[in-house]
Subunit: 338 residues, 2 copies
Amino acid sequence: MRGAVMHAPGDVRVENLEDPRIERPTDAIIRLSATCVCGSDLWPYRGVDKLEGPTPMGHEYAGVVEEVGSEVTGIKPGQFVVGSFFASDNTCEICRAGYQSSCIHREGPRGAQAEYLRVPLADGTLVATPEVPPADLVPGYLAASDVLGTGWFGAVAAEAGPGKTVAVVGDGAVGLLAVLAAKQLGAERIIAMSRHEPRQKLAREYGATDIVTERGDEGIARIKDLTDGLGAHSVVEAVGTQESMMQAIHSTRPGGHVGYVGVAHEVSLPGMELFFSHVHLHGGPAPVRRFLPELMGLIGERTIDPGKVFDLDLPLQEAAEGYRAMDERRAIKTLLRP
Amino acid sequence: MRGAVMHAPGDVRVENLEDPRIERPTDAIIRLSATCVCGSDLWPYRGVDKLEGPTPMGHEYAGVVEEVGSEVTGIKPGQFVVGSFFASDNTCEICRAGYQSSCIHREGPRGAQAEYLRVPLADGTLVATPEVPPADLVPGYLAASDVLGTGWFGAVAAEAGPGKTVAVVGDGAVGLLAVLAAKQLGAERIIAMSRHEPRQKLAREYGATDIVTERGDEGIARIKDLTDGLGAHSVVEAVGTQESMMQAIHSTRPGGHVGYVGVAHEVSLPGMELFFSHVHLHGGPAPVRRFLPELMGLIGERTIDPGKVFDLDLPLQEAAEGYRAMDERRAIKTLLRP
């Protein structure tokens, strides 16, 4: 099969790879309908995360089941399925508490930017649609595999809900989908922090009531201006840098909630500032599996359209261009078609 | 009047000070029945926090109202009252959300290790008992002014409750009262981390079911051993050092809650570790006022006896010895009688 491999920062190639096969009786093999490039794939692409040799890329996937292992009972060939970037048994105590991305048996899958993918723990990981969906819904289902579930978790962790003012730091796909999530969760006011016109536009479509273009101390001051000097009730952090984390914490009122889903690179939180900020802080790798049944339902009935975050649609063969476009911020998110 | 003043690290003197007086119409003056030395008073005593000249000490107080300002309507002379270490209006949006220690008008009071104290925002800050209580309940009420409310907040922030395993890092008065709080809140199992025999004993009296004497990585391993390898559901951090914060975070299961109430000195939380720990983190200066009515009720009906944390009872005149005894860990907490 064909699949994308990162050889070095800035060097992504689509190559012939061995077809994946059932390795354990709990595995499934899926034929990908679509896959995509994640904001987190840009960390190694930019040389921030180290690569240990050539690495098959991708962890977002939606597709049709080809084959299942002998112990798989809940999923069968021919079904259209979505799974999370962490496979989980969905039965352990941590999964049952809703933290499937910290499942005691969690693992991969990796290498989803390809024609086929082996998904471990298929029964716990994959969620099937009632029928194979029409082609125009595939991007939305693909978004559910990571960015939608991650933005949603950010909004849930920030306790977005009725009567709340929610601010979102970060205008990538996750930030934009956190806006969508806050809207669905009933937030009264949603402030998107963005200085990019096309992203502001999508944020408004998804439910943002206000746009703040300032960053850092000025961004914090603007949020305070909009909230009687108190700060937002809920702030979603969807970047993962020191500046964005501190901006999120200081934009939140005492007693408010920060939900952080940006992968925290070289972030160090000063204890005393956190202490006196009086905020709740929760986040980490999104337990996408917790939300998949609900989110796939909303997509299937066309209540939400998270697929709009894909503003570049390429054949898998052109993965390198897909990475470049995201790196240069020409694209919010690249969908790849095997 | 007489009052304790810290002149330099290790140098506390009881001196003649000016009597406090009503400065604003919302003030009250109280005659202290008892006051005490706080663990946080040891930070300047040990030279960790800098002093800016001679400083009247103390922020914990219970006593009888002497005089009230012209705008005070809810409190009257002769009542026995308790207040928090932060005065609060109890009407602003932050107070109404239960975060009175971040009240938009918060201030002092300071200088409570004395015969009299001026309490600002008396209507919002002070809570009166139905009658002047018997002498043996005074230590309990005094504890409600800070350490009980702080331990309670730690347990609430850690979401201690039925079915939960709660671990408490720190065996000072706040940690011990977090054990009491976890018990009252219905926790199933309470693990106190302590290596001091008298404190272990009081922890057991307050409801601890297990004692862990190890610290750091070994302490974390012991907590994991006691919780099927997962970590506690709820961990209260009641020390405020880098080691204790990381011990708390790593002793908590994914999706669990850390409530931190130790004043975070030189603490810096690594973003990536926090991210993958998947915990909820909440804490800060305890909004004692939120809990005072309930806690004073439990003390008055003798359901709880938080006054046991005072294992040294001295006349105010001997404040210096009270500080020394706590600094040398000969006493858990020193009560001072004006």
